[in-house]
Symmetry: C2
Subunit: 317 residues, 2 copies
């Protein structure tokens, strides 16, 4: 299959590598000059557990794509706020038959993707694979993961199953699900609590979990997600999801990790994805007439912190 990875960061590069190994014709598309340059010059380096591989793989900037590069599948792996611009830039490679698989965290990305392809070509997924960048051109990951995915509109189940099979052939352990919206909401509840709260308080998940108000805060926020999801005929099991979120506190598993939003803002002084997690719930809440004050306030507080950190950086530089 002719596959483009749109947003070939840590996880995108890893997916691109294994899909190429499985015999697909893969192109990486990314906007970070040092990363693109490193892959062009030295090939893509991929560390999987203890082994490191180097492979030659086509790589380019979004605006470098051309009409004759028609893709069967584009897997989007950008940051949420870059998705729209990415699809705009790579329009030349999106044809009538091109399928888009969205594996981004967060809520409501289909609203953006719909502007570029018909709904029948949109597939939504969720992945438990993780990866991090060692540096430009070098991605690493440990342990195993999985992908679940589904067609956005009814009638394309077999296409979704074909996609899942293609990913599984590359070892990505993918499965068709008939309930992707539930899975996406469930995962968004983890991000919608741990990301914002740990970033605001600048702590890891174990430390947050030890605070007295933790349970009440998580429960209130998950209830807002559930109230919004109900208007989309998705009935979240709040107690199960709260307990799923609270598993993150375990210091023996992932509790000592700082969520990705912390990495983005506190470590790297980058804008966060809050508008596509809690901010998305606020927008949907407004649309459905459902109050979401905790999501509203948390979104605003993270924006305050972005302003403060970025302003501070501007002064320092």
């Amino acid at each position: 299959m002719k596959i483009a990875i749109a947003g070939a960061g840590a996880l995108g590069s890893r997916f691109g590598f294994v899909l190429q190994q499985a015999g697909n014709d893969v192109t990486l598309i990314d906007g970070w000059p040092a990363h693109v340059a490193a892959i062009k010059e030295h090939g893509l380096k991929v560390t999987l557990d203890k082994d490191t591989y180097t492979t030659q793989i086509p790589v380019m900037f979004p605006k470098e794509v051309t009409q004759n590069m028609a893709m069967d599948l584009i897997i989007v792996f950008t940051k949420s706020m870059q998705l729209d611009q990415m699809l705009q830039d790579i329009k030349p490679i999106i044809k009538d038959h091109t399928k888009i698989l969205c594996l981004l965290n967060g809520i409501g990305h289909e609203d953006i993707i719909e502007k570029y392809v018909p709904k029948k070509n949109i597939f939504l997924g969720n992945t438990m694979w993780t990866a991090s960048l060692v540096g430009p051109g070098h991605t690493q990951s440990f342990g195993s993961g999985s992908v679940s995915l589904q067609n956005l509109v009814a009638g394309n189940e077999s296409d979704a199953e074909i996609l899942a099979a293609c990913l599984s052939e590359a070892g990505l352990n993918a499965q068709y699900t008939d309930n992707i919206h539930y899975s996406i909401y469930r995962k968004a509840c983890v991000n919608g609590t741990m990301n914002g709260l740990c970033t605001l308080l600048e702590v890891n998940m174990t430390t947050f979990g030890k605070t007295t108000p933790a349970h009440q805060l998580v429960t209130t926020i998950v209830n807002e997600f559930a109230a919004v999801a109900r208007h989309e005929n998705i009935e979240l099991d709040v107690a199960e999801i709260v307990s799923h979120v609270e598993n993150c506190y375990d210091p023996n598993t992932i509790g000592h990790h700082y969520p990705s939003m912390y990495q983005d803002l506190i470590k790297n002084h980058r804008t966060t994805e809050i508008d596509y997690i809690n901010g998305a719930i606020s927008r949907k809440g407004q649309k459905y007439g459902v109050p979401t004050p905790y999501c509203d306030f948390l979104t605003a507080l993270i924006h305050c912190k972005e302003d403060i950190i970025q302003d501070n950086e501007a002064v320092t530089n």
Copy 2:
């Protein structure tokens, strides 16, 4: 007049000093050993603008008071969370005629004071005087201020006017007001926004004011205060109060200051007064059936931060 200052920190000491200078029989009561010891040994040092005065003034711990020390007036100047214990400890000096003037920031202190004296002896006030401690036994303050005060229940207006006159004779610029509850709410709106938000984000008021969400956040919180106050027949002028709060951002006046809650928690790792500001609004909201989600969330977040900082300190020590 025989006056006790219950909670003789920076501002309490200053009030005690000028009231003594004006001819009153003043006793300072405080729980901080180093401060009490310093005043006993070297006298109370008071820096007012450029001049420093030293005076001998009676000082003792709350539990040292005795039955024969009947007070005409007790001015309470503790931290909010210490008020109840203080009144409990100094019960021996509270007689039938003893008046209590409460100048604490925050909301609802009369509920505690009522446990110790009849309502007719309670007077509520607001002060714009400020002071800070240079060290144990030494308070300093700059510029001028004022006090407004009122009897809690109707019929004691003349007593309130006598109290105001007594304070004014000591140069404290005090006035009787017929609207103290409004003034207390108005001041609590400043503390209920600047204290919690600047402490959570660890910034001064100018920096907070520059963030994009600042105006929306302040407006939402002040609206919650107003919704609660309405149930006590107090109609806050939200636009005026928001603009009053936003005056704090001015870098040429107080904008570069960090609010007292920041000093308490971030600098000195002490528990904050949040339960008596935003937390009081949450409790009243619950009582009146008024949703106050921003006050609830802000209170919880400050408690998270207290837990994190105090836990961290316990580990470090």
